[in-house]
């Protein structure tokens, strides 16, 4: 087991390196090919040629791309010094460089934004797990009933409607017309828990609706398949109450695919929910990345991408390890 986890960890690290290589390549080779100069982008349009040159040296942009990549990785692992003569900036590990636009270090920027993204992801995840799975189970047990049809139509709508529609409509109705929820800026959980929840609630519901729809359909399909299994008939033949048959025997099997999908969804969400954060003006990782893209702020884009890749790969790893716990037939040799 330990061996397996170590092996998987190693694979995860390799994967992460490959992902960073590709993103690094994309973000530093493409500007070159397009004829724009990262050093120029960093110092701005008003700088003198000498200033641009100094920046190029300081950021290591004069070196070959593989050296630059090496320095980037080294920066993440051990921190990095940017120096051009007397002008030395130490960037502690994990160093993702500095924003081209604001000169801020990328890591603290991401670190500050992360709690917002986590708040959004956790709240929404709780809602969609409870809502989606429950709706799916009820739908499966009352198959072809009005309730089932209603749930499935809502689910279809939930999957089909984009966040920037449902999110904006929700804000229009509940914030601006009914005034049920406050508008304004994000509030830290530590500062005002109620305000925090109030500000996030609509975002949670909107995001959860999108995912709950998928989960309801997945749960319904798996449940319908499971209740026809022989071992469910056996459970009934033992004389178990129907609710035990469903809640214990059937749910145990239904949870397996849900855990898998949830791990991946949640991992990806920790890397930032771009649409939701933008629509609800939440200063999370997703908002950071979309702003960075708009401003062609390469170090931030690179940092955020690496961050996202980390969570997706890590979530995959967790899911795989969880599998051995969930399904006793999966045993590691």
């Amino acid at each position: 087991m330990i061996n397996y986890i170590l092996r998987r960890l190693l694979t995860a690290v390799v994967l992460l390196i490959i992902v960073t290589m590709i993103t690094f390549g994309i973000f530093f080779l493409i500007p070159k090919a397009a004829g724009s100069d990262p050093a120029q982008m960093f110092v701005g349009k008003t700088a003198t040629p000498a200033g641009v040159e100094a920046t190029r040296v300081k950021l290591g942009l004069d070196k070959p791309i593989y050296i630059q990549y090496g320095l980037f990785i080294r920066g993440i692992v051990r921190g990095r010094d940017f120096n051009a003569g007397p002008d030395v900036d130490h960037c502690p590990a994990p160093c993702f460089g500095y924003s081209f636009r604001t000169d801020q270090a990328v890591w603290p920027l991401m670190k500050d934004r992360f709690p917002v993204t986590v708040s959004l992801a956790v709240g929404a995840a709780i809602m969609w797990l409870i809502g989606g799975v429950l709706a799916g189970v009820i739908s499966a047990l009352r198959r072809r009933s009005l309730l089932d049809r209603t749930v499935m139509v809502v689910a279809l709508a939930g999957v089909s409607l984009p966040i920037y529609f449902t999110g904006l409509v929700a804000q229009l109705v509940f914030v601006h017309q009914l005034h049920w929820f406050p508008g304004g800026t994000y509030i830290q959980l530590a500062d005002d828990p109620l305000g925090w929840a109030g500000k996030l609630f609509l975002a949670w519901v909107t995001l959860a609706l999108l995912y709950a729809a998928t989960y309801a359909r997945l749960t319904r399909a798996t449940m319908l398949e499971t209740i026809n299994e022989d071992y469910i008939r056996t459970a009934r033949a033992k004389g178990l109450q129907e609710r035990v048959v469903i809640a214990k025997h059937a749910m145990r099997s239904v949870l397996t695919p849900i855990v898998t999908v949830f791990g991946l969804d949640f991992g990806a969400l920790l890397g930032g929910a771009i649409l939701t954060e933008s629509v609800f003006s939440l200063p999370g990782i997703g908002k950071l990345s979309i702003d960075a893209v708009n401003q062609k702020d390469l170090p931030i884009i690179l940092g955020v991408t690496t961050f996202l890749a980390f969570f997706v790969i890590f979530a995959n790893l967790i899911v795989d390890v969880l599998y051995t716990v969930i399904d006793p037939r999966v045993r590691i040799k």
Partner: protein, 356 residues
């Protein structure tokens, strides 16, 4: 062995003065589907005493499994399912009872062994947990006591090192072991009625014999009534006191095992016997298969459902195609066939028996 119609059984009483332990009267299980009404079981009656074994024999889709599921109340429960008739278990009628009452009896007074022990046990729970659960539904005992009981049952069905194997998952057991564990689970509450639905079909031949021996031993020990459902006449020859042959959802021949093997009267039963491989037959002699395939339960052939496959149909103006034959009840032997009994016996003696 008593073979009485529902009315007779209700009024005449049995040799021991009471009603039979299990008395199934005119059981019907119908499903209405988009394609039409499926008469999965269509008027089946039989009786069974404690300590006796009934074999229900038939091809796939003859309604034999649905019969047993109907007795246990395990048939598919949809708005489209109609269950009628009477099932008397130890003086208690089950079809009209509420579901909660039937649930309480299920697993305790009557229990069931299924065909494929791999798919019939939950893959995510240990064998022990599943047996313990079966015991604790009906017995208010501690987990520890239930575990001891489970170990005892596993030992009883011949699982080596039961105190260790109890924590294994079903996939860690071999096929035969799994079926033993399944039997342990079915018997953990000392049921008085045990229904075994093709208990050996999914097993190796060597293991089949062991499992049949085990069922017989346990039956003698617990003196329970056993119903064995199978398509394999060899299995019922081993175990059954009485045999009920089903075709197209109906009982077409019913009698003691002895009678049915020696003097079978229904052409379908002859076909089953003819297609049974036997070691004492010469290798060159070929099996005599029943031609055709079992009928669809939605679209049963008119008249006698077996007539399209029956080599003796339409002799001397018998209405095989138009009239459904009743299960004529002799004193020892019921046969649903239009061919007059003397003629049937003659055909069997001259035409069928020599090739069996």
């Amino acid at each position: 062995m008593s073979l009485l119609s529902a009315e007779d059984a209700a009024t005449a009483g049995q040799s021991d003065g009471g009603t039979p332990f299990l008395d199934v009267r005119d059981l019907r299980v119908h499903f209405s589907t988009e394609d039409g009404l499926v008469r999965a079981v269509d008027g089946v009656s039989f009786a069974l005493e404690r300590g006796e074994t009934l074999g229900i024999v038939g091809e796939s889709g003859s309604g034999k499994s649905v019969t047993s599921l109907g007795i246990l109340g395990l048939h598919r429960r949809t708005d489209n399912t109609r269950l009628s008739g009477e099932v008397w278990l130890d003086g208690e009628e089950l079809i009209g009872s509420d579901r909660e009452r039937v649930r309480q009896l299920r697993g305790q007074k009557m229990s069931m062994i299924f065909q494929d022990p791999l798919t019939s046990m939950h893959p995510y729970f240990t064998v022990g947990a599943q047996i313990i659960e079966a015991y604790r539904v009906h017995n208010n005992v501690s987990k520890k006591a239930a575990r001891a009981r489970a170990v005892e049952m596993l030992a009883r069905v011949g699982i080596p090192q039961p105190d260790r194997r109890i924590d294994d998952y079903p996939h860690q057991f071999s096929g035969g072991m799994r079926q033993r564990a399944m039997i342990a689970m079915a018997l953990v509450c000392d049921p008085e009625l045990l229904i075994a639905d093709e208990p050996t079909t999914a097993l190796d031949v060597t293991v089949q014999a062991q499992i049949l021996d085990l069922i017989r031993d346990l039956q003698e020990e617990f003196h329970s009534a056993v119903i064995i459902i199978t398509h394999d006449l060899g299995v019922v020859a081993e175990l059954a006191d009485d045999i009920l042959v089903m075709y197209g959802g109906k009982c077409i021949e019913y009698g003691t095992a002895d009678e049915l093997f020696r003097r079978p009267e229904h052409p379908y039963t002859w076909g089953l016997l003819g297609s049974m491989p036997r070691a004492d037959r010469s290798v060159r002699e070929r099996l005599i298969p029943i031609k055709g395939t079992p009928p669809s339960l939605i679209n049963l052939p008119s008249g006698c459902a077996f007539h399209p496959r029956c080599p003796y149909a339409f002799r001397n103006g018998i209405p095989c195609r138009t009239v459904v034959p009743d299960l004529s009840e002799g004193d020892v032997h019921g046969v649903a066939c239009h061919i007059p009994p003397p003629e049937r016996r003659e055909i069997f003696a001259t035409d069928v028996a020599p090739s069996l």
